[in-house]
């Protein structure tokens, strides 16, 4: 029988509920009870393959979300577990990976851009337009003022040292590549990532 994992889960979920009740001696009552057992919630969830965001073992994970990815349905992640097909973790996760759902839905997840003015003791919610316009303006002002085109010996050096960046080591390689392009096109050298810590 050629079964997908989800099909397998569906099948075993239903028969397990019925057969184990019978084994417990419920007899006919078992059928009625089995009918009232809530269907296994993952059977109607959407499964997405992903990689644990923490260490570099890079355990395969399966993310289950409600919603079928229709345009008008917003997916909600309800469960994350180890990917049993993955050749390294083979379905297992550690105490951090097992709790990934809690970091996805952490109450301290940020949901809107915020701005803190000089001397202020609080953040203020702002629009993306405001934040990005202001950041770009500050960056350009600083670059134009402090860009070093040539050093004292007259060699072309084209560097910008007064603004720097730390890059994210849990971001994708594609993000990293785009970040490199942008940062270096500005001439930035104070540029690093978590590889040192």
């Amino acid at each position: 029988m050629n079964l997908s994992r989800r099909g397998f889960v569906k099948l075993t979920g239903a028969t397990l509920a019925a057969s184990s009740l019978e084994a417990l001696g419920f007899g006919f009552a078992g059928e009625a009870l089995a009918a009232s057992v809530r269907p296994f919630k993952l059977t109607r969830a959407t499964e997405t393959r992903n990689t644990c965001t923490y260490c570099s073992v890079a355990c395969g994970i399966l993310i289950y979300s409600m919603g079928d990815r229709a345009k008008n349905a917003r997916s909600n992640i309800i469960h994350i577990e180890g990917d049993p097909d993955h050749p390294v973790n083979r379905g297992t996760l550690c105490p951090k990976g097992s709790a990934l759902l809690d970091v996805v839905h952490a109450p301290t997840r940020l949901t809107a851009p915020k701005y803190r003015a000089p001397g202020s003791s609080e953040f203020k919610q702002v629009s993306w337009e405001f934040a990005l316009d202001r950041i770009a303006k500050l960056m350009k002002e600083d670059r134009d003022k402090n860009f070093v085109a040539k050093n004292a010996a007259g060699t072309t050096v084209n560097r910008w040292l007064t603004t720097g960046m730390l890059a994210a080591s849990a971001s994708s390689s594609e993000t990293a590549y785009l970040t490199w392009k942008v940062v270096r096109s500005f001439g930035m050298l104070v540029f690093d990532n978590q590889a040192r810590v």
Partner: protein, 809 residues
């Protein structure tokens, strides 16, 4: 990692030193258990603490933090004295036989060429004696007094078992037992794997810690073989990828390096990078540097990179100093030399040494931008959180932008794991609220800058205006398009010598062997070439088949370089091409070509008789026991004490710590001395937490809710500290007040005849998230880095500890 996670199961001996894989990499550590159960492997753990890795070890020995080089040079002395090296491997595959220049020397802790004034070396004497064809001279009988083997023998002679024990505090019998266990893998068909992590890197001599073990592994013939290798267990999910793509001060993608001020033109830049072989017939693969470089410049600047403008060479920023690393950045901030800083998924208030200095630095900026899925301490450094973050907001003039980003579950893309696999992942849901991807944010900043430079002009706009940006949605480039950019493609139709078309214009490349230096190909990261070809996204492959179940799984995802799973695998076979271990071959010579379960790390048809060495990236084709000029503090490792140490350097009291380390004067002034701070401290992770992220996750915050330190029973008793009581731990730079966990797992060591106590400082708590507020281990740690990489010395520093009363709630 040179090898794969699953390949650990093939080891006969597993050594975990400089790491704690059972707690920090639990799902990878399973393969150690597999090796023990299925292969009868012995696990050796050497660590200041009796960790959970140690708890399942066959043999455990304690060691004082920061003395691993002394231990391992002692091991090398033992292997040479007892003649427990794999002779044929060492003779054919390492530089043991090459002759070093007259003039190279080592005396009183310093190698030849040292300048007291600049704290650096003139490395010209750290090289081979060359013959008239500019090849290194060789004596494979090892009679020549200056062949590497004899210089090494002489260098390690001082590391007797007595000396090792005196420096490391490891009892002699335990040390010698471990030497014996290591030595058992000098048999050609036996392998030892070395698993390490930040326990080795976070020292002022971090790179040399790793190098010393690499030398042990070369002498034992354990590099390139199944169950062997040097396996750096990397910490973050894509730290390998970010390193590969060169998001470090001096790097470009694929380990190309940015030019320096000294390279005034393109020709100078190229001459220093096109490594000419120093032995006959060697591949010296970096000879292809120009192909990688030109293809990269074409990828990011397209038609604007031309032969006439040296492929836009001048558009790359040039370095005037070796590195603008994070320690340097915060030094610059503190001196008022920086105005802006962007922290993308990085939380330096928690992650970098001497937190006080980090906060002072950020306070001097004009603007700080944070991009993160979580509410980080860094984004709130200006806010008063009490003793854990005292801040006078009104006097901090920094403008702060806190930008919310997507997390792993909300994006498509690839991550490079510790073993160099590029694994694709898929988006499962939309991000919360208005959070946006880092790609969208970087594109948005870029477009605003480009528009302003277009309209208003400004400082050197050329690279900004000419950056290629051919994405379907320019405001939010698709990760698949970016992956294809990195893989690379032909820019025009490419023909072979016979005139046949080998690549059509625009065709995705199959691998980096197709790259050219004439501008007809492009690739954003040459080592990733092959990851996204005309056959599709190779990183998304999910074939679990594994020939002979040897732990290769060659068609699961894709590994750089060239889908090769075990680096240096040519060294798994003898000079004739027969596997050293016939039971676990990786590749072998079949008379016509190299065949096997892995992609050969070698020319596929190079005959064994051609004498091409297996270490194809090195100009001599050999593994280096003598590093030439590649390390800043010497071609051989040497024991130097941590910058904060309770004892003098008994080998050479005048040169106590790494003589080539960069130490800023204000940081030097903030180092503590043993009379005031008598205890050695070391930092580490707990298995329930990941750095400073999981305190935002409820279950992890419940599992390990509050800051604590670990202290041995003997010292606790001396200081009147009881289980769970409050303590104040102080270094010269700051203090933390937290609870004490009194443990049997840390015992006093006898170092140079005196008892030495170690205090453990887990790193996880701060002032945002769901766990209780903590001061953070980096309040205590010193601001000094490894002399080569500037990785901060978090693993060995000095503190004092005293009992205190509970803080007022």
């Amino acid at each position: 990692m040179t090898n794969t996670w699953q390949d650990i199961k093939n080891a006969d001996v597993v050594v975990v030193m400089g790491g704690n894989a059972a707690e920090a990499h639990p799902c990878g550590f399973k393969w150690v258990i597999e090796a023990k159960i299925e292969n009868g492997a012995k696990l050796v753990v050497i660590d200041p603490r009796f960790t959970r890795t140690a708890s399942v070890a066959d043999y455990y020995a304690p060691i004082r933090p920061g003395t691993d080089i002394a231990f391992l040079l002692g091991v090398i002395r033992y292997l040479l004295e007892k003649d427990k090296i794999q002779h044929d491997y060492v003779r054919a595959y390492t530089n043991a036989s090459l002759i070093v220049k007259d003039g190279f020397g080592f005396e009183d802790g310093l190698f030849s060429g040292y300048s007291e004034e600049t704290h650096s070396y003139d490395k010209s004497s750290w090289d081979y004696e060359l013959d008239d064809q500019a090849f290194a001279k060789i004596d494979d009988t090892w009679q020549h007094p200056r062949c590497v083997m004899n210089l090494l023998r002489q260098h390690v002679a001082r590391y007797t078992p007595e000396m090792v024990s005196r420096i490391c505090g490891t009892p002699q019998d335990k040390y010698l037992h471990i030497c014996e266990m290591f030595a058992s893998t000098s048999a050609p068909d036996k392998a030892m794997t070395s698993l390490f992590a930040l326990g080795w890197t976070q020292h002022s001599i971090g790179s040399q810690n790793i190098r010393t073990m690499a030398m042990v592994q070369l002498l034992l013939g354990n590099i390139g073989v199944a169950g062997g290798g040097m396996n750096a267990l990397r910490g973050h999910s894509n730290i390998q990828g970010l390193t590969d793509i060169g998001l470090l001060s001096n790097l470009m993608p694929g380990y190309l390096t940015l030019p320096s001020d000294k390279e005034t033109n393109f020709e100078d830049y190229m001459t220093t990078r096109l490594f000419k072989p120093v032995r006959p017939n060697q591949m010296s693969y970096w000879q292809n540097y120009k192909k990688f470089f030109v293809s990269f410049q074409k990828s990011i600047y397209g038609d604007a990179a031309t032969p006439e403008n040296n492929w836009a060479y001048d558009w790359l920023p040039k370095l005037d100093i070796p590195l603008y690393d994070v320690i340097k950045a915060f030094e610059m901030m503190n001196k008022g030399e920086m105005n802006g800083y962007i922290c993308q998924g990085f939380n330096p208030v928690q992650a970098f040494p001497d937190r006080g200095k980090i906060r002072r630095g950020l306070s001097k900026l004009k603007f700080l931008v944070t991009m993160d899925p979580l509410d980080t301490e860094t984004s709130r450094f200006w806010e008063d959180f009490g003793p854990q973050n005292p801040a006078d907001s009104a006097n901090i003039q920094t403008e702060v932008f806190q930008l919310p980003t997507t997390c792993f579950a909300e994006e498509n893309g690839s991550l490079v794991n510790s073993t160099r696999w590029l694994q694709w992942h898929w988006k499962a849901a939309e991000p919360p609220g208005e959070a946006k991807s880092d790609i969208w944010i970087m594109a948005s900043i870029y477009h605003r800058m480009r528009e302003m430079y277009r309209k208003e002009g400004g400082a050197f706009p050329d690279p900004i205006l000419n950056l290629t940006w051919n994405y379907t949605d320019p405001t939010d480039p698709d990760p698949e398009e970016l992956a294809k950019d990195m893989n690379g493609r032909a820019r025009t139709e490419i023909k072979d010598a016979s005139g046949a078309v080998t690549l059509k214009a625009g065709q995705l490349l199959d691998g980096f062997a197709q790259l050219r230096d004439d501008g007809t190909t492009e690739s954003g990261c040459w080592i990733f070439s092959g990851c996204y070809t005309e056959k599709g996204n190779q990183m998304a492959r999910r074939d679990t088949s594994d020939p002979r179940e040897q732990g290769i799984a060659p068609n699961w995802a894709w590994a750089w370089p060239a889908n090769r799973r075990i680096l240096y695998n040519r060294a798994s076979a003898d000079v004739e091409g027969k596997p050293w271990n016939p039971k676990k071959p990786l590749i072998e010579w079949n008379g016509n070509k190299w065949v096997g379960i892995d992609v050969p790390d070698y020319g596929p048809t190079i005959k064994p008789s051609d004498g091409v060495g297996p270490f194809i990236m090195n100009a001599e084709g050999l593994g280096r026991l003598f590093a030439r000029d590649q390390m800043v503090e010497g071609p051989f490792p040497e024991h130097y004490e941590p910058f904060e140490s309770p004892v003098p350097n008994v080998l050479h009291p005048k040169v106590r710590s790494n003589p080539a380390a960069r130490v800023f004067p204000d940081d030097l002034a903030a180092f503590g001395l043993a009379p005031e701070f008598p205890y050695v401290a070391t930092t580490y992770r707990l298995t329930e937490h990941f750095h400073f992220w999981t305190k935002h996750a409820l279950i992890n915050a419940i599992l390990q809710p509050e800051e604590f330190i670990e202290i041995g029973e003997v010292l606790a008793q001396q200081k009147g500290i009881t289980q769970g009581s409050w303590v104040r731990v102080a270094s010269k730079r700051g203090h933390v007040v937290c609870k004490a966990y009194v443990t049997k797992r840390i015992k006093p060591l006898t170092v140079d005849g005196k008892p030495t106590h170690v205090i453990g400082v887990p790193i996880h708590w701060g002032f945002t998230g769901q766990a209780r507020k903590g001061y953070g281990a980096n309040t205590l740690t010193p601001s000094v880095g490894d002399a080569n990489t500037q990785t901060p010395e978090f693993k060995a520093f000095l503190v004092n500890i005293e009992s205190t009363s509970a803080p007022v709630a």
